[in-house]
């Protein structure tokens, strides 16, 4: 078990480090609290103090006194607006311990930054303004803290000076929080009365709160056990890097996320289930016989096994899950909402895959902790989802291991981190469909038809000319003896996709189905002409990935909005402009133009014949 820190500064190297988070509502005084701790711990140096005094005169909210928050708020915009936007990391030490204080924003639109801070800390301080009591943000942050696996929080009831250091007020807020915390069974809390502004209860107790006999915030932080339970969990070594500088050395490097490893120990590699024994272990300082969680190590194995980045070294007795489907809580972090059926990149401890949210079971209202049915998740929302992966991956549940039980989702186009997931448990595929290998395949079918099957994907705004060009092209191809089929947006929406509307998530599903159908037709040996506005890059690249090399020809049918609107063959622009039609591409829904289409047709000043000739010339090289 972890020892209590010694009160001796003689050996610097033996100090332990505690990472803690501060959160709470806007203006509850988070930055002031950290500023106070830094100030009292003498971690603020003279020149920094001088600079903050300069800024205090300019932006300060404390009259002639130094505004402690300005010691912490590091961005110009934060100092100007007097709010915290992003996570700040501050460092200080006492005789007992080293601390990293992670100061997180209270504003709702920066909740994702709070989640970022909460993912890497040992404990958290939730601030409450004694005047205002428990607010919506207090609850939201507490729910996030529990979700991210923090077991104990300090409930710092701040601004006690503004309520006359009233014990009654303190008890009232404590009881209100206790009632709410019942809904968060895994969260324990320690209430402490403080005034960050004056220092009471932060680093020392004062007569003003003589009715309080518990620890100060700093005493509490100095004395809590830093969890070493991770060392007693089964070993997990996600491989980052294969170190092969010369032929007789083959090392596997990574950070041991849990457990112990020792030379001679039996290990299994996941997800391949190969077995071996540990030959050598290298810590940063050199060769060792055994090592514990937290160390960045390199191991060599007794036998030659095939291991690459993304694999996990663990043991057979306590294996990780290996699955291609899982259930998880997801915190959404992007302005663009989560779209079920859209494919995202997913990143686990070191392995990567593609992921689809196959069902969105519910979202959590973090104020009431009630569950609500939903079709999407907006920024800062938390949902419970089933996720399907493109290949089996080794992982744990989040409650067993934070680092091997979590993932992030990355948008394939913007490359932004859009979601964070905490795994609940693995799932078996609903149906274990195995590909039946047939005697007749795409090659034999296309030989019979004497053509190279492919799909021409016409994308562009309504009225750009997709259908007119495709219609004429199909006639030309038919007279040349080709077997073809034209898939058109309107036709498909009367049948296959008649259950779908025009919201973003329905558009994504529309394209997914059409792409799958197109894939079957190409497999049948046909030349497919698909005409769909298909406004999003992500879905077009998803469609492209369903086809083989050279099978997917993206044709960008390009006309300026004003030209399309003039043509308006179906009278739709008129309706959209008058507000009768919602989510219309080009009007109130965006069109993301292709960057590298195989063909780019500008239709404003060309005839249909000319454009069809461009396509046939292109196809002649392929067919």
């Amino acid at each position: 078990m972890a020892k209590l820190p010694t009160k001796n500064d003689s050996n610097q190297l033996e100090k332990s480090q505690l990472r803690f988070l501060t959160c709470g509502s806007v203006d509850d005084g988070k930055s002031t609290l950290i500023g106070r701790m830094l100030y009292d711990a003498r971690a603020i140096l003279d020149d920094q103090l001088l600079q903050s005094r300069k800024e205090s005169d300019k932006y300060g909210t404390q009259g002639n006194n130094l505004d402690l928050a300005l010691l912490v708020d590091g961005l110009q915009a934060e100092r100007e607006q007097g709010i915290t936007i992003d996570v700040a990391y501050r460092f200080f030490e006492t005789k007992a311990r080293k601390f990293i204080a992670v100061d997180t924003p209270g504003h709702e639109q920066y909740t994702r930054n709070m989640v970022t801070g909460a993912s890497n800390v040992d404990t958290a301080i939730v601030l409450v303004d004694a005047k205002k009591g428990i607010l919506k943000q207090t609850k939201r942050h507490s729910a996030i803290i529990q979700l991210l696996g923090i077991k104990t929080v300090i409930l710092a009831i701040n601004k006690m000076d503004s309520v006359g250091y009233s014990e009654k007020k303190f008890n009232q807020i404590r009881d209100e929080y206790a009632a709410f915390a019942k809904k968060l069974p895994e969260l324990d809390f320690v209430p402490i009365p403080i005034s960050a502004l004056n220092g009471d209860g932060v680093t020392s107790l004062s007569k003003k709160i003589s009715w309080y006999s518990g620890p100060t915030i700093l005493e509490y932080l100095e004395n809590i056990n830093i969890s070493d339970e991770i060392v007693f969990k089964p070993p997990r070594l996600p491989i980052q890097w294969v170190n092969r500088p010369y032929s007789n050395f083959r090392g596997f490097s990574g950070l041991l996320q849990s457990g112990l490893l020792s030379v001679g120990g039996s290990v299994t590699i996941f997800p391949s289930f190969q077995k071996s024994k540990i030959l050598e272990i290298y810590e940063p300082g050199g060769k060792v016989i055994k090592t514990q969680a937290g160390n960045s190590i390199t191991v060599t194995l007794e036998t030659e096994v095939d291991i690459s980045r993304g694999d996990m070294i663990a043991t057979d007795s306590h294996p990780p899950y290996v699955a291609d489907k899982l259930a998880a809580h997801i915190v959404w972090m992007d302005k663009t909402s989560l779209l079920p059926e859209r494919t995202y990149d997913i990143r686990f401890a070191t392995s990567e895959s593609k992921a689809q949210i196959v069902s969105l079971d519910y979202k959590v209202d973090v104020n009431t902790l009630n569950k609500h049915a939903t079709k999407t998740l907006g920024i800062n929302e938390i949902g419970y989802c089933k996720v399907s992966l493109s290949k089996p991956v080794a992982f744990d549940s989040y409650r067993d291991n934070k680092f091997t039980g979590s993932f992030i989702l990355i948008d394939k186009e913007s490359k932004a981190t859009v979601g964070a997931g905490m795994i609940d448990y693995p799932l078996r595929r609903a149906s274990n469909i195995k590909w039946h290998s047939m005697e007749i395949n795409k090659k034999s079918r296309s030989l019979n038809l004497k053509q190279q099957p492919l799909i021409l994907w016409f994308t562009g705004m309504s009225g750009s000319g997709k259908s007119s060009i495709a219609d004429q092209l199909e006639q030309v191809l038919l007279t040349r003896g080709h077997a073809t089929y034209l898939l058109d947006g309107d036709n498909v929406r009367h049948g296959l996709n008649k259950d779908l509307g025009f919201t973003d998530q329905d558009r994504v599903e529309n394209i997914r189905r059409v792409a799958e159908v197109g894939g079957l037709m190409v497999d049948a040996g046909l030349i497919v002409l698909a005409c769909f506005i298909s406004p999003f890059k992500a879905e077009r690249s998803m469609a492209r990935e369903l086809f083989g090399d050279n099978e997917f020809i993206e044709v960008f049918v390009d006309a300026p909005l004003r030209v399309c609107e003039d043509r308006d063959p179906k009278g739709l622009y008129k309706k959209a402009r008058s507000g009768q039609l919602k989510n219309f591409t080009g009007i109130d829904s965006i069109y993301e133009a292709p960057e590298n289409p195989e063909l780019h047709l500008k239709t404003e000043n060309s005839t249909i014949d000319e454009l069809v000739a461009v396509i046939t010339a292109f196809l002649e090289s392929r067919l």
Binding site: Q12, D46, Q76, R90, S119, D228, N243, F249, P284
Partner: protein, 300 residues
Amino acid sequence: MTPLSHLKKLESESIYILREVAAAFENPVMMYSIGKDSAVMLQLALKAFAPGPLPFKLLHVDTTWKFKEMISFRDKTVKELDLKLIIHVNKEGLKKGIGPQSHGSKTHTDIMKTESLKQALNLYKFDAALGGARRDEEKSRSKERIFSFRSATHAWDSKNQRPELWSHFNTQLNTNESVRVFPLSNWTELDIWYYIRSNEIPIVPLYFAKVRPVVKQNNQLIMVDDARLRIKPTELVENKRVRFRTLGCYPLTAAIESSATTVDEIINELKSSQTSEREGRLIDHDQIGAMERKKQEGYF
């Protein structure tokens, strides 16, 4: 079982970051500024990839105004450790004669450091650049991610940073975008010195006190490193026992009076110090928010 000491924890985290960069990017590079932080980062990288060689090159953006001892230390280190080093100088700036004294610290830093760095990153098409900056150095740095995303024009969008959760770094980029990666993000100045002490890492002798010729300019002690330093007739060159807490362009880096000649003495001095190491960096004090503005423009 005792938990890892904070220094082991920091070492381990930094090595994890270095390995991620080597594994996930196509063309990474390590910025080498010759100072104590670079020395620690280099040591960590050597450990991360041992027994193999470093899987990336080093890049030194030379403003041509560095201390002479820095340059000789750099060349010796590269030779002894058999490293691959790229030295980049902004040749246009050099041709125009840009310097810290003639053009002021802001113009000099913009052109010979920030612009020069961008030139080098564009020229070699590096998609990830490792830097030795720490969050405790300066307030805007304390807000920066470990993997800090840069647009195609190398700009840092402080209000729209990628969330960074657990140890799952998003290493994906679109064309021409890049990241700056800071493996020492969670180290403090003292941690750097403890690590230098316990690993016996060689550092530039300028960090240790010695009698050196200095002149007081704007209330700061500037070392007379070569004949280019402009000295007014009213200013007096004196021999003083001084050392440097950080190293940069010599006319912009102030010395402190000190008698610390060993790492232990430096540590004791720092523990009782009441000023930050960047106090001696004149470029930070141009205006309120100076560092944040420089970073948005592409400064490291």
